[in-house]
Structure formats: C-alpha cells, structure tokens
Amino acid sequence: MSDSSSPAVEVRGLVREFKGGIRAVDGLDLELEPGEIYGFLGPNGAGKTTSVRILTTLLRPTAGVARVAGHDVVAEADAVRRSIGVALQEAAIDPLMTGRELLRMQGALHGLRGAPARQRAAELLARVGLTQAGDRRVGGYSGGMRRRLDLALALVHRPQVLFLDEPTTGLDPTSRGALWREVRSLNDDGTTVFLTTQYMEEAEQLADRVGIIAAGTLVAEGTPAALKARVGEPTLHVELADPGSAERARVALAGLGSLQPPDSAAPCKVELRSAAGHGAIAPVIRALDEHNVVVESVEVESPTLDDVFAAVTGSHLEGAGAAA
C-alpha cells in the first residue's frame, strides 16, 4: 500500500540492458517526494525514456528496484498503472478518433462509465482548452493541441504521479508556455510530476528539483539554483561610457564581489562575480555613481544547467538554447 509519507518514486540501482549488452540505464538511484515536480534532464540517448518506460511498467528492468506510489513496478504493475498518468514522447494518439472519444475510451480503461465518464471528458477538454475541438478528429489537431489532449488523457483517473516524457519537444513557444502553465496548475493540485526534458529552460522553469542523466547514470541532482551554484556565481558585465573610468570603477566595485582581471581588448568592460546575481545590479550602479563613473549597461550572466551538465560530463546538452 502507498501512503503519503512514502516517496512518490523510489529507484535503487536500476539497470536496463538491451540486446548487444547496451546499458541504457546503468545503476540509477532516484527519490521523488510526493507533490514535487522533478525534472529529468539529459541529451537524447541518455536513458530518460528508458527510465520512464520502466517506471510506467512498459519495460522490465534488468536489475534493481523501482517503486511508484509505493508499488513495485514489476510485482505490483497493475497497482502502479492505477496510480500513474503517462504522456509518452510523440503523443501516440489515434488520428481517426475525436478528442472526446479518446477521453471516453481512456475513462473506460480506468473504470469510468456513463455520465461520470462523459462529465470527466468534458471537464478535461475544458481544462486543456479543447472544448471546441473535442468532436473533431485528432488527425486535424496541431502539435500543441495533440500534446494538450495527451496530457488530458493522462489525467482521466486523477493520477497521483504524472509522467511526462519530453512533453514540449517540437512545440512552438506559445504552446510550450500553455503546457507549462497546465503542469504547474496540476502540481498545485497536489500531483507529483516526473518530467523528462532535453531543454534546460524547461527544467529551470518547472522543476523543484532536477536530475541530470548521462549515459544511463544520474550525474547531478538538486534544485536548479543549487546545481548552478556548484559551477560558479553569476557574472555582472558592466559596460562603461568612458574607458578612462575603468580604474575608478574597479575601486568602486571592490567590496561588492569578486572582480575579474581586466581585459585589455575591452577597456570599457568591468566584470564582477557576485552570488547576489540580479540583486547586485542596484548596489553596483549606486557605487559607480558615487565614484562618478558613467554606466552604459549592466548585464547579468548566470550559470545555466548546461554549464552544470558540461561541468559534470565534459559535454553540452543537445537542446541547450533550443527552448529559449
């Protein structure tokens, strides 16, 4: 039995080996608290989808233990299926059916029937903004509409844990934003969300905690802020109006952070590292003003999750910047 104190997802030493000895997942350990949004970030082929398929009972692990909502994914697969909602990569939706028909069918698979099933389908169509399109065949839906319907299908039975496998891949920024809002709203209602993504912006925007996976192994985990703090503090790039004021600027900023060595190729620039990030902008401008230094611009460059990924794996995320 699951209870509210047990982890929503608990994975210990999970391994999945495919033919030819390829290890897609290689000793994965994870723990998700109930009610959190967990972002599983990694490039294509890192093992994200294989992990999700194991956690959603669609694939058997070669070794290790995985429990979802308190149930073992192998020994209690049916109980896991009752507790989870799944929206897999590339929304697999029959294009010949209408959105409402699919929701009714999904309801039947989860034991809903009659008026409650009809009502739930209407509710979910409204929730994802597809009421008008509900009686149209899915083949005519846009990519964003399909993703929203896929999300609605995963919610029919009010799951405790929602698995979203790259839910916004290929979507335009508007559709992506709409889906993010919906995920946040679901989480506000208490649903635990396990989200895989190759977009660092998506992980930063949505996730309470992020796990970075590479070559089937978890290489870093924490809140986005904590992970970024590991690779360094934000840098403030100060552009001065007069290159002759650079020395005065350095004196003015000396107590506000760690000054970077001057760059002779850019005499108008002063760089300052400060943990305060954007919070340091106002003190920086005040200090420069007090020293009669005229400022052209101040920009803050924060470390990204891609920097974290690069720091722990030595390579960059394929989707870095793609979601921006």
């Binding site: 669609l58 897999l88 010949l96 698979l109 989860h110």
Partner: protein, 258 residues
C-alpha cells in the same frame, strides 16, 4: 457488466468505428469481396450446368458463401493490420499503461472483428438478395451463417493479431494480404468440392475454411447435403479458440521480453 467486459466493449467499439473511418481498410473488407462476387457470378455461371454441380435455384446464392468467408478473412486480417499499426505508432503503449487485463486487449480487438464481420455478412446477403439471390434457409439460416462467418473472422483475426504482436510489423501484416486468396481458393469457396481441380480437392480437407464455407452454403440453402453446419461450427470454433490463444500467448511473450 464487469469492468473488464466494459473495457472489451470500449476497445471493440473503437476498433469497429476506426475501421469505417479508414478507406484503405473499408474498401478491401466491403468492396473487394463484392467485386469478386460480381466477376464470379457473371463469369462462371456456366459451371452450374456441369455434371455434378448441385441442384440449386440460384447460382449467385451458391457462390455467395465464398464472398461471406472472404469477407471474414479480410475482417480478420485488417484487424491484425490495425493492431500492428497501433504497436508501430505507439498507441498500444497507451493501452498497456492502463490497469486492464492484458487478455482484454486481445479480446477487445477481437470484439471489433466480430462486429465488423457481422456487418459485412449482413451487407453481402442484402446486396446479393437485391440481385436475385434467395435463401431457402430463411432468417434462421442467415443468422447462423452470419454467426459462423463472425467466428471464422475471429479465428483469422487471432492469427493476424498473433503475428502483429510477435513482430510489431505493419508492413509484414500488409504483405500477408495475398495469402487470403490462397486460403480462399484452396477451399470450395465458389465451386463444389467435387468439381475442384484434383490438387485443390486433395488440399481442401485440410483447410478449415472448407467446412465453414460448405456449412454456410448448407445453412443458406437449407440443404445439409451442401455442408454440415455442425462440422462448420466445429472448424470455426476450433480455429477461433486456437488462434485467440496463440494471440494471447504472443502478447504474454511480448510483455515478457520487453
């Protein structure tokens, strides 16, 4: 109705409704058999005058059972094709992620095949009637013939589903299409068994469709001499049970090796 019963019904309803929205599935199941019927009924009607040809009032009604069984074959095959498409395009994963018995997924698909075959047979009987075919077996004979064809469709559907589940290949299922005609023409679908070429006559007793098509003929013509309904029922039920079991085993094997 039990929860699993409702799941089977929902999956069957989906299988059937989708069938009518996909022209490439609808044409072979409803139009192709009628085209072949038209060719055979008009082009080979002289066979009725051959020595040994049974004494029947309507040649069209005599060859119609071949069309009904062809429809059943195609209904079963298209069911396997649709399942392979579900597997290949990922829809089957959605079903596997639901808390339903795995066997319900196979039986639900078969329920759709059953419905499709019944509609086909009723349609073929009505069209042939409009063109002069008469059924001395009456309504009872027609209903029994429709039921027999539906059980046969389940038998073929089970086999096609087993192949789909084993291979997950849509193109393989589509390539099986010509074998429908091999099965059909190695049974006395359009001619009496005694008038088949010797080689076909030797093969026919080993083809379960022989007993089914003869039984349908006997039922429609109200003449047990043309085909024994019990033999036909036994052949159809054995085929359906065996291939549905095969499909269920294929699904279990698929899940075991995931």
């Amino acid at each position: 109705m039990s929860r699993e019963g409702r799941v089977v019904l929902a999956l069957g309803r989906r299988a059937l409704s989708v069938q009518f929205r996909r022209a490439q599935l609808l044409l072979p199941t409803f139009v192709l058999p009628l085209m072949l019927l038209a060719v055979i009924a008009s082009g080979t009607s002289a066979a009725q005058g051959l020595r040994g040809f049974p004494d029947v009032a309507s040649y069209l009604a005599f060859v119609l059972p071949g069309t009904i069984i062809q429809g059943a074959l195609l209904a079963g095959l298209t069911s396997g094709i649709a399942l392979a498409a579900d597997i290949e395009f990922g829809f089957f994963d959605r079903l596997l992620a639901a808390p339903v018995r795995r066997t319900s997924l196979v039986i639900g698909r078969q329920a759709g095949t059953l419905g499709l075959s019944m509609l086909q047979s009723a349609f073929f009987l009505a069209v042939a009637f409009a063109f002069g075919a008469r059924y001395p077996g009456g309504l009872g004979g027609m209903l029994a013939a429709v039921a027999l064809a539906a059980i046969t469709a389940i038998g073929i559907g089970g086999l096609a589903s087993a192949i789909a589940l084993r291979t997950g290949s849509l193109s393989l299922l589509q390539s099986i299409f010509p074998f429908v005609f091999v099965l059909l023409f190695t049974a006395p679908a359009f001619f009496p068994r005694d008038l088949l070429a010797p080689a076909l006559r030797d093969v026919a007793p080993y083809n379960p469709l022989t007993y089914v098509v003869e039984a349908v003929r006997g039922l429609l013509q109200d003449d047990a001499g043309l085909g024994d309904p019990l033999e036909g029922l036994l052949a159809a039920v054995l085929l359906a049970v065996a291939t549905t079991a095969l499909a269920t085993l294929a699904l279990k094997e698929r899940l075991r090796t995931l």
